[in-house]
Subunit: 391 residues, 2 copies
Amino acid sequence: MNSNIWRTLLFHTRRFSTTSTKNAYRSFTKAALLVSGGTGVAVICYMGNFPKVHAASGVATVSKAHSKWMADSITDVEVFEQNPNDMKTKMEMMILRMQGEICKELESIDGDKKFRVDRWTREQGGGGITCVMQDGTVFEKAGVNISVVHGTLPQGAVNQMRSRGRKLQGQSLPFFAAGISAVIHPKNPHCPTIHFNYRYFEVTDETGEKEWWFGGGTDLTPYYLVKEDVVHFHKTLKAACDKHNQTFYPKFKKWCDDYFNIPHRGERRGVGGIFFDDLDYADKDELFNFLTTCAEAVIPSYVPIVQKHKNDGYSLGERQWQLLRRGRYVEFNLIYDRGTKFGLQTPGARYESILMSLPLTARWEYRHEPEVGSKEDLLLQVLREPKDWVS
Amino acid sequence: MNSNIWRTLLFHTRRFSTTSTKNAYRSFTKAALLVSGGTGVAVICYMGNFPKVHAASGVATVSKAHSKWMADSITDVEVFEQNPNDMKTKMEMMILRMQGEICKELESIDGDKKFRVDRWTREQGGGGITCVMQDGTVFEKAGVNISVVHGTLPQGAVNQMRSRGRKLQGQSLPFFAAGISAVIHPKNPHCPTIHFNYRYFEVTDETGEKEWWFGGGTDLTPYYLVKEDVVHFHKTLKAACDKHNQTFYPKFKKWCDDYFNIPHRGERRGVGGIFFDDLDYADKDELFNFLTTCAEAVIPSYVPIVQKHKNDGYSLGERQWQLLRRGRYVEFNLIYDRGTKFGLQTPGARYESILMSLPLTARWEYRHEPEVGSKEDLLLQVLREPKDWVS
């Protein structure tokens, strides 16, 4: 098998953690059958509808792509080769590529630290690749993770989906989920934190009905407000949205402001961006292309801002303010974020990957109130009353 | 009115924040009537069953006690004077006294910083006194709060109580709650963090049935394990329990280990102590006396440990480990703690008082694992497998 050759080569040239290599070559073919096992139609469709000639040309494509990934794919490449048009294959290959591109870009900006790469498998099905850089010159903590998991949805997750309006029948539902998720906390308080997450979900209910949807978003959390940076960030996201649907940006911008809210403080976490979930209307491939465009917009939306400010001077007071705002970031993630809650409730979830979103350091001062009219106060005004950045 | 004299004196001699003094002299008599308004019996009982002679002798007692409080009581002292035997009066006077004693003790140990005292009122009924010391010589952050609130229980809280087995009928239930709650984070990693909370709750359901219960506990979170300190702490709590009921300590020690659990990490927050809730059996006054003994045991259980270690030398590595453990403290409080969740859900809750439990600084490192056999690892073993400290 061709794919074995580059897999062997790769094994000797890439960084892996000890724990992560152990299970790296476990075959996922059986697992893939298991995921789709909830519906007879899906099994046939997944395993049988690609003639051998496609699979053969797939080898070259997968092999070429692989050299840019941070680690071996979660699903066995044979499954990719046999199912190049399946959305599971497309999503996993897209997130593997984006993880590679973004990690390389951040390593080149940092110039000092490299990402630690942990490839892990989940007992109940699937696994992930967690890439974390800690205590770099530019980046204090950056995590870029992918996960491709399948199995049976826990009851809590089914209820959460139903509460969002999904008509899922039954108790114990087979699911597949693939996503990329990242949080990048730079050291310099003049460089904002960015978070993004793009994901694809499939659930088969007990009537055999298969539901699928996409979700995701990118949002920015500055510590000091530089209007033109925020405008650049939002304009880049708007251009990505507009390429696919003119209604997306205004809708998803508002959704983002509503989602990243810290109700007990009456503040947003940051200056927003875009956020969406349950995207299942329109053409599936077109939605996948939209997701890809969004993921590809991460670097151009963010990197210029980091490059601009990474060498800015800052005072101890500015650093303290950054740490206080990171405390708010922790509050949002641990109290309100649906992803974190869902993650920690999922049996066999890898909590270290979920909690990599937390900053290296955070601070809580009782009743900290910035001076009226100060730069810190200026930021707070915008967090309390989200603004329109592109018109 | 006698009580007006010392109130006026006090106003000129004690520290108050600007915001807290504004509503300090609002009369609470109407509010107190409102709380008890759910049941005719309660109103009569609360306002009418103490002859004037008791009220008059109450003035002297209340007046003497007041000089040791951190601020004016939440409920008007006239209500105390008229109802000296009502559990609401007893609880509020006990927590006011304990807050005063503990704050004074901590100030004397710190020798540098004083507590900032914020007396606040809650629009929906009641209020509290939040005392916070920040960035002291010995104490990095210490909060000792009391709150005395009443009004209508939010639906979420009613459901939470029902899920614990309380048979409350109806949707919108009048309640009264009084409690003291404190978290003390010393600077030195060799001094443990302590938390305690003692509370009394009354709810009247729509059938007019009044339920009441006590809850509380004290628990210790060391960063390094000093066996004899933990034994001293547990023995002091056991002695307090044994004074009232020999079955309390073993039961409440286990409850504490079970409650302060961080399931996603498979670790307890600290080395435990005692924890209990829904204590409504036996004689009400006897349970109040038990609560009082527990609250009085806080200083003897904890202060000797702080005195012993407050000047210990420590390395940067030991400080970093302390901050990592404080990250776990934040995880427990924001994800799992019922008090924090209940607090943040309560309309009109003062989030600054609820979140004062968070440390001044915390740290999250991806996959931090102490060296096997190190002092840090020794602590982890105990957090993973709670021990018996007194036999």
